[in-house]
Amino acid sequence: MMTPPASVEAPRPTLIQRFHRLSLGRWLVILIPMLWLAAFFFIPFLVVFKISLSEAMIAVPPYSPLLEWDPDSAFATLRVTFGNYLFLFESRFYLDAYLSSLRIAAVSTFFTLLIGFPIAYLIARSGPTSRTVLLSLVILPFWTSFLLRVYAWMALLKKNGLVNDILMSVGLIDEPLQILQTDFAVYLGIVYTYLPFMILPLYTQLEKMDMSLVEAALDLGTKPWRAFCLVTLPLAKPGIIAGCLLVFIPAVGEFVIPSLLGGSDTLMIGRVLWDEFFLNRDWPLASAVAIVMLIVLVGPIMFMRNGNKEAV
């Protein structure tokens, strides 16, 4: 990293010092998103966390209260259990579900990047008119319901669907392939669904890149492929990271795609969560599953955010 000139080497203010320096107007600007986050992220998180610490029981709501009021002694007892978390780690099933989710999300993110990068690059380098058209084509699928599009894939991929029909008619296969209800179908579904989330941040990053940088690399004796690796890729890094996060995070918790396109053996944490919640009505365990998933996701997010800071 760079070393700042001696003249500006004043000690950096701490976070608290910086808060003290803020004027009222700035406080308000910060306060509004803070309130938003508190109302729609932090408080729900606390509620889920609270439920995860209780026990399932047949009642409404279907879990034991955290504080139990004893009318005789006028004392409240705090009843906290970590049993749900312990249960998650005792059973191989949940661990497998987490690992399988991470794997499916990672592989899908990789392929989304592989397909999305050339598309974003092409859009960023095309003329102003075709750029608008291409960008709207990327966004166009959002105009129809996501569920509808997944059903369309089911129709395409089923035993006597269009894909199998074409493969049979050109003689590549003799009998229909089992595509639906496989992991492949899940990968396909995730890559297809999340591709725009990869393309858009990549496009934004590539579009503002000065093409003369690549020419400068060529001019200095670099072959095109090396120039791409040494100049284009590092400069696209913030876009790559943003795109990967936008695909990876929702893909880990994806429920609809594995349920509709995946087979019974496609294990993903979103499905486990749904089953615990709606089939078993075990709200505390489902909450614990959700909390652990959140913790599992924080790791890669922090890692990528650090990478992003370096790139800027």
Partner: protein
């Protein structure tokens, strides 16, 4: 008076290479054409550039100068014609294999790399050992006086510093030919002047042939050994700076370089060493001390630079080369004054006079009736 007699007498040993008849050009551009669809960016250009030259391609936007430069760099390949650099045909050699480096107008510094790494970029691709790369980068940064900023990122530098990093990066590979696209365009006026001299010093020190593209005629005049003026994809004149200024060969160059007064007229007499021209705007005949060698009554333009015209209240005694008018505008510039004089034909003539005396007392001012006159060797007759 022939064209070259305006320059000082030079012995054959010190004669610049481009004036030596038998000299071998270092860069040969042979009948280069470049089409972009229907648009001809460069139209049948041939040009020889010699070793150690600092050649300026001068022209407005869309004149084709940048396209020509990009063809020298290898970013565009010519539709037809050849580019020969140091005896090797480079017309279709990719940029990464040419012994040519370019300094980009935007500088194109890699924003994710430090100053040091930017300069080292080209050397690392050559596979030089690390200590050798380090040594040469340090030398180059010292030459552009940026050694102390080696670890900074480009966005932490001023415009002038960035320009010098770009220069160092393009020179560090010791190219045979350095191409500079508007090298001073992004700098402010004072810095531009300093950098001009710095560029000339570095070029002299390293002995690398420079080709500079610029739209700024002043920049071209100070920097260049020779200038090629481009217009609509064609080189309209190639000459040394003073020759370009004093002896433009056509109206475009005369008007593009410096200020000029142009008078349209017809040839009255045309002899070997003199000619007279009749112009509607001018009361007397224009007498020039060189022949034009053209048909009688041909339409020509006479170009006279503003500083070569004398301005006075007294009528001149000569028969030719004078006209009278009324001062319509005066601009006092300190070292000189600019007058605009309206002739009886209502044409305006621009005249500049040095303010040699501190206070001349009888200063010319608005609405004064004045006489303009000039010498026979001050005007240039342009047939195109």
């Amino acid at each position: 008076m022939s064209v070259s007699s305006g320059s000082p007498i030079i012995t054959p040993q010190t004669l610049p290479t481009w004036r030596q008849k038998e000299a071998e050009p270092f860069v040969r551009i042979e009948q280069i054409n470049k089409q972009f669809g229907d648009f001809t960016a460069v139209n049948d250009v041939s040009l020889d550039i010699y070793k150690n030259e600092l050649f300026c391609l001068l022209g407005g936007s869309g004149s084709g100068k940048s396209t020509l430069l990009r063809m020298l760099a290898g970013f565009e390949s010519p539709t037809s014609g050849r580019i020969i650099i140091d005896g090797v045909d480079m017309s279709h050699v990719p940029p990464w294999e040419r012994p040519v480096n370019m300094m980009f107008q935007s500088y194109a510094l890699f924003p994710h790399l430090s100053v040091e790494a930017n300069v080292a970029f080209g050397l690392k691709r050559e596979g030089l050992p690390n200590h050798e790369v380090k040594k040469r980068v340090a030398e180059m940064l010292d030459m552009v006086q940026l050694g102390h900023l080696a670890r900074r990122k480009p966005h932490m530098l001023s415009g002038g510093q960035r320009q010098r990093v770009a220069l160092a990066r393009s020179l560090v590979k010791q190219p045979k030919l350095l191409l500079l696209d508007e090298p001073l365009g992004a700098l402010d006026k004072k810095l531009r002047e300093e950098t001009q001299f710095e560029l000339m010093r570095i070029q002299d020190e390293l002995g690398i042939t420079f080709v500079v593209v610029t739209h700024d005629q002043e920049e071209a005049m100070t920097l260049a050994t020779r200038i090629g003026v481009m217009n609509n994809g064609v080189i309209v004149q190639t000459a040394e700076p003073h020759e370009m200024y004093e002896y433009p060969t056509n109206r475009f160059v005369a008007e593009f370089i410096g200020n000029v007064n142009l008078f349209d007229g017809t040839v009255v007499t045309d002899e070997r060493d003199s000619a007279t021209i009749h112009c509607a705007d001018i009361d007397s005949l224009i007498y020039v001390d060189h022949g034009i060698s053209c048909a009688p009554n041909q339409n020509v333009s006479v170009a006279i630079r503003p500083e070569k015209i004398r301005i006075s209240r007294e009528a001149p005694t000569e028969v030719n080369n004078h006209v009278s008018g009324i001062i319509s505008e005066v601009a006092y510039m300190g070292s000189q004054s600019i007058f605009k004089v309206r002739l009886s034909s209502s044409k305006e003539v621009r005249v500049t006079q040095p303010n040699a005396q501190r206070d001349s007392g009888d200063r010319l001012t608005w609405d004064d009736k004045v006489h303009l006159s000039w010498d026979a060797d001050s005007s240039v007759v342009l047939t195109s």
